[in-house]
């Protein structure tokens, strides 16, 4: 497959909603991947330099996005090598999101935040939403209400101007603050906490623009 050409970052108003800034769709997708798999050296290197850096800088100009972006950037700016930082973050990713961390786990599943269990009504609802668009989680073993799957669908719906976008956005805005708060409490690095903070702020902005 041919690699897509990189684009320069647009300078649209930082107050604009996601739909008004297509690169934000890619930002959603980036966040979806950030919470889907443990970071590698390559993903950290990519996040530390290039257009992504510029996007983060631009986002940091917006007061409500600054805390999350700042937290994320602080981690990326640390003097650790890409390899060392990705190893550290991969370790924390496992602790936070794989379940191995016991009481320190932050579940990335909507069902858990709403009911305390996996695979509850939100999972069934997400399966229906995905099916309605002839989609499914690419990882067949993954629950459809994983944050990353929800974000990937949100990005897709946004990119395709689908009217279901607003509803999905509303429901995500309901449970993600809880996820953000727990991540802020449990993440010792600030990387995932910053990403969660940024995500919630971003979705909040979008929700206000669609209310």
């Amino acid at each position: 497959m041919t690699e897509m050409p990189r684009r320069s970052v647009s300078r649209a108003s930082p107050d604009a909603a996601i739909t008004a800034r297509p690169e934000n769709i890619e930002l959603l997708d980036w966040l979806a991947r950030l919470f889907a798999v443990a970071p590698t050296e390559a993903t950290i290197a990519a996040a530390r330099s290039g257009p992504a850096r510029a996007v983060l800088l631009q986002l940091s100009e917006t007061p409500d996005l600054l805390p999350g972006v700042g937290r994320l950037a602080a981690v990326l700016d640390c003097p650790m090598s890409d390899a060392a930082l990705s190893a550290r973050l991969a370790s924390v990713f496992g602790l936070l999101f794989s379940g191995a961390g016991g009481r320190e786990t932050v579940s990335p599943y909507e069902s858990v935040h709403r009911t305390g269990r996996l695979f509850q009504a939100p999972a069934r609802d997400m399966a229906r939403r995905l099916a309605a668009h002839d989609l499914a989680a690419a990882d067949a073993g993954e629950a459809p209400d994983h944050l990353s799957v929800e974000l990937a669908l949100l990005a897709h719906l946004t990119a395709t101007d689908d009217p279901d976008c607003a509803d999905l956005l509303r429901r995500m805005a309901e449970w993600l603050p809880d996820f953000r708060d727990l991540t802020l409490e449990k993440d010792p690095t600030g990387y995932f906490a910053g990403a969660a903070e940024l995500l919630v702020a971003l979705l909040g902005r979008e929700q206000h623009s669609t209310d």
């Binding site: 991947r33 990519a46 602080a74 009481r103 399966a127 499914a136 990882d139 990937a152 010792p188 600030g190």
Partner: protein, 823 residues
């Protein structure tokens, strides 16, 4: 951005649709496969599936491929409230999603950075990677160190099911690989199951009791001694039948007098409105001796029974009366030790002798140092009362376990997959195989003392030098004693593999973690009721495996395949082939006995359950045949009679288990002559868990205090320490420290606190011995020593310590150290 440019970019995104990123990198420079795929997944049909668990049979309602609710099987007479936890365990956030390997182990190999075990730093790997790693390590350890370097004596309450018996499957694979170190016995009855064959000729602990209908009809006085059947009969080794509750309800309705002897006013005591007698823990033998002495002193002992049905009472009597040690074991002597007034002890002797008395002893009595003595002395006491073999009289050790005493149905025996070892009579899970074997509770001793000689039931053995352990269907980082000793010992392992469905404390201490399904994500078959055997149940798969979990059978078959033994492992059979073969074997027996049973297909696709009638089982009286004719129906002891004095044990010459039951001071006890701490820590079975199972579920919210395992404490003891209900407390002794949540009550005797066993070990500094356990694992505090040289059982109820209001820092926040360079 211009409208035109926006639409152009949007169109591009739409084309890619975020589904076709493939290896493309967007503005974030991120490349990777899409998180979504095109094509909706087919939904499983909705419906209701009957299946079963340790907590009973139940119907699971399925919607869109997920279990949305469970309800007890309509034939269950007393469903357990723990069933809600079953649903929660399937969908617990602590499910193991993928095969995972400890980072240091993956990067540096076996034995790398063992101090990081328990810290939770795992890397996701593919199944192929994981299985290759496991196979390679099995072969490396075997080649490098020989067959006694791999421990597969994995112990624990595995899930029910005759095929996916993970422990049998593990040993089946190990036997095909070569050999391994096995373990014998169990943690439940380690001491009693070794002493009882010397005394009555059988394991006794897992035998049918005089059945409840007979007890209800004939028993005049029911004594639960260290037993709490209202709590513990919720669970069964197979599918719970809960028949014991019908018996207990009937006994209560009849108004039969019940006495509960226990440091805690148990649920059973509350249920019956029983008389509560609360001796000091671990002093039961003294109390029994005081009663026995009174029986002799007041000529209430049944000499005819002793002469006809027992041997060695004449050798025990001089000890009882003080002729051998100038210490008569009188009621007054006993009162000083157990803190039950002498008059009450004498009253018990009178009551026992005057009425048809059933002495129902619990397993807890023997999970203490010198635990063998409790059951031996209880049998001796029952023999002195002369009611063994009479309807409603004598003793019973399983009224509290798996609904012992529920009448047995006329049912065929359901077989299961074998592990390749030689079956051992008395308990379905015990087989004899392996290059070496240790008593299961001595696993830490084994790791700490390779090559050291140890005694066990008349034999001398040496501990093997184990380098690798593979654990399935168990949670030793909760059920084993003296956690800190264990944490240190575990560092000696080069490789620790755990196969489970949930991130238990044990899984968190592993090097390689393999995700297994729960029982509800696979097909299997099982009996209902350990003693009742009232039905055979099709344990149909309710939902597809969650995440990447695989069945135990598939995992071990895959490892066997990599070992070149795949065909030997599977015998060419599929899951359903095996299940049908077990059913057909039962069907053959049923036809011979003229018990009606449908063919397999009708059973499996029909109701999924076949129930059996109860006929002769309704009137079973334990030891009735022996009593009727001891010559024609002798016991399995050397003398054929109940042995109050064992010449076999005498020959062993042990200093901690003599030839007749006797009182010995344990290493520590409440009021003991050399005991440092002032409180006994009792660690009985919890009401809302099966040992540690379901601790990781929402059920915990129904009993946790301030987020911690509850600690029952008497009002006076609490006042003396300024502790109130709801306070977080630190329970400690020289072995360790835990946090717990105080529950102040008069339902526990002064001088005793209770922290139930089974609370998940949650160290504030994983891998560091001495670390504070945040949640409340009682086994941080218990002693890890053999009950005696005879049985080497565990001493999970031997612990003293103290408690104080916790004033340290909040332990739930900031437990992870922030790395200097990443904050």
């Amino acid at each position: 951005m211009s409208m035109e440019r926006t639409q152009e970019l949007r169109a591009e995104l739409s084309r890619r649709s975020l589904l076709h990123y493939g290896l493309a990198a967007g503005i974030f420079g991120f490349a990777g496969p899409s998180l979504l795929s095109i094509g909706a997944r087919a939904a499983s049909p909705d419906g209701e599936v009957l299946t079963g668990s340790h907590w009973g049979a139940f119907r699971a309602k399925v919607e869109a491929g997920q279990i949305v609710s469970v309800k007890p099987w309509e034939k269950d007479p007393a469903p357990s409230h723990q069933l809600a936890g079953v649903l929660d365990s399937i969908y617990s956030p602590t499910r193991i999603k993928y095969p995972m390997v400890r980072r240091a182990y993956l990067e540096k190999g076996p034995g790398a950075d063992v101090d990081s075990r328990g810290a939770g730093d795992f890397v996701r790997v593919s199944w192929d990677q994981a299985l290759d790693l496991v196979t390679k390590e099995l072969l490396r350890v075997e080649k490098t160190y020989g067959p006694t370097a791999t421990f597969a004596g994995s112990y624990g309450w595995k899930s029910p099911g005759r095929l996916h018996n993970c422990q049998s499957l593990l040993r089946r694979m190990m036997n095909l690989k070569g050999s391994f170190v096995n373990a014998s016995g169990d943690y439940s009855t380690g001491a009693a199951q070794i002493i009882m064959p010397h005394v009555v000729g059988t394991l006794e602990m897992y035998e049918q009791q005089t059945v409840w209908p007979v007890v209800v009809d004939k028993t005049e006085l029911m004594v639960f001694w260290g037993a709490d059947p209202i709590v513990t009969n919720q669970i069964s080794w197979v599918i719970g039948d809960h028949g014991g509750y019908e018996g207990m309800k009937a006994l209560k309705a009849k108004g039969t007098k019940v006495i509960c002897i226990d440091p805690v006013k148990t649920e059973t005591a509350e249920f019956f409105g029983a008389e509560w007698i609360a001796p000091r823990p671990q002093t039961d033998v003294a109390l029994m001796l005081g009663i026995a002495h009174t029986l002799v002193a007041e000529k209430l002992a049944d000499q005819k029974f002793l002469k006809t049905y027992t041997t060695g009472f004449d050798k025990f009597l001089p000890y009882l009366m003080g002729d051998t040690d100038k210490t008569p074991k009188s009621a007054e002597w006993a009162a000083d030790i157990c803190e039950i007034p002498a008059d009450k002890i004498k009253e018990l002797a009178h009551l026992f002798a005057k009425h048809r008395t059933m002495l129902a002893g619990g397993f807890s009595l023997q999970r203490q140092q010198y635990g063998e003595q409790r059951h031996w002395m209880l049998v001796t006491l029952a023999a002195m009362l002369g009611q063994i073999g009479l309807p409603g009289g004598g003793f019973g050790f399983s009224y509290h376990y798996a609904n012992g005493g529920t009448p047995s149905a006329d049912a065929p025996v359901l077989t299961g997959i074998t592990d390749g070892g030689k079956a051992k009579e008395g308990a379905a899970w015990m087989t004899e195989n392996g290059a070496a074997s240790i008593p299961c509770a001595r696993v830490v001793d084994m790791l700490m003392n390779p090559g050291k000689e140890f005694d066990f039931n008349g034999k001398k053995e040496k501990y093997p030098d184990v380098k690798m352990a593979y654990w399935v269907g168990g949670n030793p980082f909760v059920h084993h004693q003296d956690r800190n000793r264990m944490v240190a010992a575990w560092k000696k392992l080069e490789t620790f593999i755990v196969q489970d469905f949930q991130w238990t404390p044990t899984a968190r201490h592993a090097d390689i973690v393999l995700p297994a399904t729960t029982s509800y994500e696979r097909n299997d078959i099982e009996s209902v009721g350990d003693y009742a055997g009232s039905a055979i149940l099709a344990m149909k798969k309710v939902i597809d495996p969650v995440f990447e979990s695989k069945t135990d059978y598939d995992i071990f078959a895959a490892i066997a395949e990599r070992l070149g033994k795949g065909k030997d492992f599977t015998e060419g059979k599929s899951e359903m082939d095996w299940i049908k073969s077990f059913y057909d074997a039962a069907l053959t027996q049923a036809k011979a006995k003229k018990i009606p049973m449908p063919e397999f297909d009708a059973f499996w696709s029909g109701a999924g359950v076949i129930e059996f009638p109860v006929t002769e089982g309704k009137s079973f009286v334990r030891y009735a045949k022996y009593r009727e004719d001891p010559l024609l129906n002798p016991l399995g002891t050397p003398s054929g009679r109940i042995e109050i004095y064992s010449k076999n044990i005498e020959k062993m010459g042990y200093d901690d288990c003599g030839p007749h039951p006797k009182w010995m001071e344990p290493v520590e006890r409440l009021g003991g002559p050399t005991t440092k701490y002032k409180l006994h820590i009792t660690t009985s079975h919890p009401k809302s868990r099966l040992h540690s199972q379901l601790c990781g579920t929402k059920l915990r919210d129904t009993y946790a205090v301030a987020g911690h395992e509850p600690c029952l404490i008497n009002t006076k003891d609490a006042e003396a320490r300024g502790i109130k209900s709801g306070d977080v407390v630190r329970v400690f002794n020289d072995r360790g420290q835990i946090l717990a949540g105080a529950k102040v009550t008069d339902g526990i005797r002064p001088g005793v606190i209770r922290v139930n066993e089974g609370g998940w070990y949650d160290p504030i500094e994983p891998g560091k011995p001495g670390s504070l356990c945040r949640y409340g694992d009682a086994n941080v505090l218990t002693v890890d020593m053999g009950t005696s040289k005879l049985a080497q059982g565990n001493c999970g109820h031997t612990a003293v310590g103290d408690v104080e209001k916790y004033t340290g820092p909040d332990v739930t926040v900031g437990v992870f150290a922030t790395p200097k360079n990443a904050s």
